[in-house]
Amino acid sequence: MPFPDLTAERRHRGVVLGALFGAVFVLLFGRLFALQIVEGERYADLARRNLIRPDPIPAPRGDVLDRRGRLLAGSRVSLDLALEVDHPDYRRREDIRAAVEEVAASLGVEPEPLVERALRHRRLFAPVILAEGLDPERLGPLFERLYPIPGLRLEPAPRRWYPHGGVGAHLLGYVGEAGEGEVGPAEADSGYCLGALIGRSGVERRYERLLRGLYGSTFVTVDALGRKTDLFPRIPPRAAVAGNDLVLAIDLDLQTIADSMLAVAGAAGGGHPGAVIALDPWTGEVLACASAPGYDPNRFAEGLRDEEWAALQSGAHPLLNRTIQAVYPPGSTFKIVTTLAGLHEGWLRSGGGFSPCHGSYRFGSRTFRCWKPEGHGGIGLWNGFAQSCDVFYYQIGRRLGLAGLLDFAGSLHLDRRTGIDLPEEAEGLVPTLDWYRKRLGEMPAEGNVLNLAIGQGELLLTPIAIAAFVSAVVTDGWVREPRVALRATRPGGEVVWEAGEPRRLRQLPVPDRDRELLRSLLEETVAHGTGARARVEGVRVGGKTGTAQNPHGNDHALFVGVAPIEDPRMVAVAVVERGGHGSSVAAPIIQKLIETYLVKPRRPAGGSAGQDGAGTASAKGSGGKTGVPPGAPSAPDSAGALPDWLELVEWPPRQAIDASAFGAAGADSSAGADSAAIAGSARAAGALAGGVADSAQAGGQARDRALAGRRRP
């Protein structure tokens, strides 16, 4: 029917609607009455005496494993001693003070700070931690003495444990405790309980969502003042959900080698900052990622003192992951680009028509030198590249012209981030004419091309960008996104996330035959040129050395290696700051990596899991292993992979870190953006071992406690 215009009809419906509203309201009123009047007393009583407080059960964090399932980061349960200050026996402050003093006496520590903390916690109605990380051996007698003290209990607290200390520290990252802004309800996506572990850098941070679990709750009934009562029926606790395990593409053997060799590379036997990165060029998987100086992430788990934290932030910046966050002048490794530019224009293929090298080259009013003062003599493409003759490349640069070289370099997008799955990757710098114009206010001088052609001047690249670029050159010309993590699995093994197919980012504008020619040039460099130190028996290795001039001191050493050159399975880049010549300092690192990866027979996976002192499982949940001491010997598995002049030492027992070990050197003050010189540089390397006590003089004995290895005497 049409809309009931008739008021009577309307009124009828109005009554119906009013009745509907009324009925619902009557229901609500009734319920209100029932709750407040009829049962008011009971509820008031409940309110006074029956409030439920959820106490969080921390969730075990997922393990981080290398590609063969070996543990890189795990959880262990540390035992903390806690006092429930809201226990009914602690109505008065004096009672709390007495109890805490007794505990302090048994532990052998100063009572005052603990008493203060306990009194502060009284208002928070949370148990106060009196001692952390108790040694399970000492617990027996300790508890016998302290047993009568009411409200004292052992709290299992999850701690993050890195069984290999500083190996891969930058890659793995470290964890910290959740703060005010991050605490939230467990069912929400982002809620943590107070004090839960959150990844702050590296893989721990990047894959936080997968690694973290969801905390659970036990339900405690308390009265209005927060004190425990027992009047509500027992509510079963809600279990915590464990985090997922993460499998990385990293190979622990290669990683250990990279870290160890980087620590001792360079002049004065080590201690130079640097970076090593190794990729599988077809998949982008990161096989090793090392940065020096480093640190022991276990220190973060145990709590840093202020001076330790300050030391980490200054000097050589050990927290910096130099493979992705530091930019370097590529030096002679950039000659790969210059060569490709020349091939691209076509005239370089024949390789002829170049003036011989006598050690220097004149351009305008300036003289540019070759690294070999006596010169190389007659040069063509083959020996020009293999011997890295600067004069040869000056000539190429001139023929390309500044615009030509910059345009080609620009088309390679070397300064773009690779998108590796680690946080805070830096961008490089490949200048353009516009860039020069803006900086100088005028057109740049043509002479700049000479520097750029040999990789000096306003060029800055991250090691990962170099590795990704070279990977593309030696494969099919596609730049692939590097990836650190492969998959995440539930503790039972079910896969919850996979990295999937390798991701292609862009194709280099380099035709097949140019790339093939370049592969041959790389092989020639190692076979007959400056890359001799990278030779590996039985493997065809290709590479390019680089020595980047450093106005503040020694040259930086670089090397890019590819093996096997006919079917590349590894591309690795090593940078040693102020290390000297790439051929002698950086190349041996790559050599060892290639040898281990391609030549050494593989141990079966089961064997390595057994031998590895760290084990492939870690303690999760309160029933598991408690407190495996940080002094556990590490990876004997890797021992066989090291060069024979390098031996592994046991981690020294945990000691105070000498702040000066981090080399905030007053003396050598190259206060520029690059690292300052490090006095006693070996001590910085020693920090990786989890503690350096001796402040011996630079060089020599200070290396005794070096990271994971030292030179055999």
Binding site: M1, P2, F3, P4, D5, T7, E9, R10, R11, R13, G14, V16, L17, G18, F21, G22, V24, F25, L27, L28, F29, R31, L32, F33, L35, Q36, I37, E39, G40, E41, R42, Y43, A44, L46, A47, R48, N50, L51, I52, R53, P54, P185, E187, A188, D189, S217, F219, A224, I235, R238
Partner: protein
């Protein structure tokens, strides 16, 4: 003579005390409760109270705006604003920020837009225009289907966010408006029967408190009900086609419901179960309801005093300044306060309905009823939730809950009703 221009209609605000005073009082009480609930919690500052005040001002502006618009203008903007709100709802599904597992908001820099809220007003206007138009004879299926379509579109879109509580507002308000528009009772029964079937299909899943094997009997109960329905319809000489359609729909619903139940998010399911038996999960979903009941109940006859609630029961009630604001009233002002608040709502609602009976224009009448139904739905569900009579849904209490979007919408609804009151003699 019909007025076509916007007019302030200042007098109407004074001439309709039953529409203005309750709202004013509720706003004041709400403001006080929000202050009490927020200032005494950890982030206690004035900032939340100020934001509430700001939202009130914006809402009052909206009320004035709606009150001043002529009926014809409302009729003109009805369809476009409905279309726009559908677009925004789709937009939020695509671009929305995920928060607590749901996409409800779109972040526009300084503003956050929650399209499901203004969509309610647009919906009321559009449905009112549709039903009030003489072109649509609601006895004919086509017109009825059109109305159903208007209801279902926003319902489905909001349901996908997922936001069950808000989504149900559309059918709830829509049904009331259909009743008002004169849809025959039998047709309504026909329309309502699938919900009955849903209830019967779900009930066994809930009654056993576990999402395991339900009682066999309950699962098949829908069959005799459908059979009865078929017989009744044949008795009334309804053609076979609609009868069969009815049977098929019922069967589909009965079979689909367990599947949809299984596909609900865990927390949604546990909320429904917790509603029926809060003690089942006193730690999770049941926790809030238990705490709310304790808080309200402990208020007894006269309450514990303004501002005192947080020291006792309310300290453990989360979201007490938003969804559970009524618990604050109950705890601090007791039965007198809580019943008083309900009475204020009741007065407003009854006045709005009586107005709707009297106005000339069918469109205006439907607008008034729709606005009233919108307020009623929220009040009923929210208060029932705090009392443990409905599952926890996250619906705010009009005029009182902290939360700008809905406050503005609720005051907009008030403005609509006032506008209808001012123009009761227009067509």
């Amino acid at each position: 003579m019909t007025e076509l221009r916007f007019s302030w209609n200042g007098r109407i605000w004074l001439r309709e005390p039953l529409l203005t005073l309750p709202v004013a009082l509720l706003l004041l009480i709400g403001g006080a409760m929000v202050c009490s609930a927020t200032m005494l919690c950890e982030n206690g500052t004035w900032s939340l109270a100020l934001r509430h005040g700001f939202a009130m001002v914006v809402g009052l502006l909206a009320a004035v705006a709606f009150a001043g618009l002529p009926m014809r203008t409302l009729g003109v903007i009805a369809m476009p604003s409905y279309g726009l709100s559908l677009v925004l709802l789709v937009g939020v599904l695509i671009f929305g920020e995920v928060q607590y597992g749901a996409r409800r908001w779109v972040d526009l820099g300084p503003l956050q837009l929650q399209p499901s809220e203004p969509a309610k007003i647009a919906f009321v206007l559009c449905l009112a225009a549709y039903l009030g138009s003489k072109r649509h004879d609601l006895r004919r299926p086509r017109a009825l289907l059109g109305a159903l379509g208007l209801i279902l579109l926003p319902f489905v879109l909001v349901l996908k966010e997922p936001d069950l509580g808000t989504a149900l507002a559309f059918p709830a308000v829509g049904v009331v408006m259909l009743i008002w528009a004169g849809v025959p009772w039998l047709t309504l029964a026909f329309l309502a029967s699938p919900f009955l079937t849903v209830g019967l299909a779900i009930l066994p899943l809930l009654v056993t408190w576990q999402e395991a094997a339900p009682h066999f009997v309950w699962r098949l109960l829908w069959i005799p009900i459908v059979a009865i329905g078929v017989m009744v319809m044949r008795n009334r000489s309804i053609a076979w086609v609609p009868v069969l359609a009815f049977a098929v729909v019922q069967m589909g619903v009965a079979l689909e419901t367990p599947r949809i139940w299984a596909s609900l998010e865990g927390y949604q399911r546990s909320r429904v179960v917790a509603f029926l038996n809060p003690e089942y999960d006193p730690a999770g979903a049941g926790y809030q309801v238990i705490q709310s009941k304790i808080a309200i109940g402990s208020g007894s006859a006269t309450g514990n005093g303004f501002g005192r609630g947080s020291q006792k029961a309310l300290a453990f009630l989360p979201r007490r300044h938003t969804d559970f604001i009524f618990s604050v009233v109950g705890e601090e002002w007791g039965f007198l306060g809580a019943a008083g608040v309900l009475a204020l709502f009741g007065v407003w609602l009854l006045r709005a309905v009586s107005l709707a009976v009297r106005v000339r224009s069918s469109f205006a009448s439907l607008v008034a009823v729709g606005a009233a139904a919108l307020i009623f739905y929220h009040v009923a569900v929210n208060v029932a939730m705090t009392l443990g009579l409905a599952p926890v849904t996250g619906l705010p209490l009009p005029f009182m809950s902290f939360g700008g979007s809905f406050l503005v919408v609720a005051l907009g609804a008030v403005g609509l009703v006032l506008g209808v009151a001012a123009r009761r003699n227009e067509y």
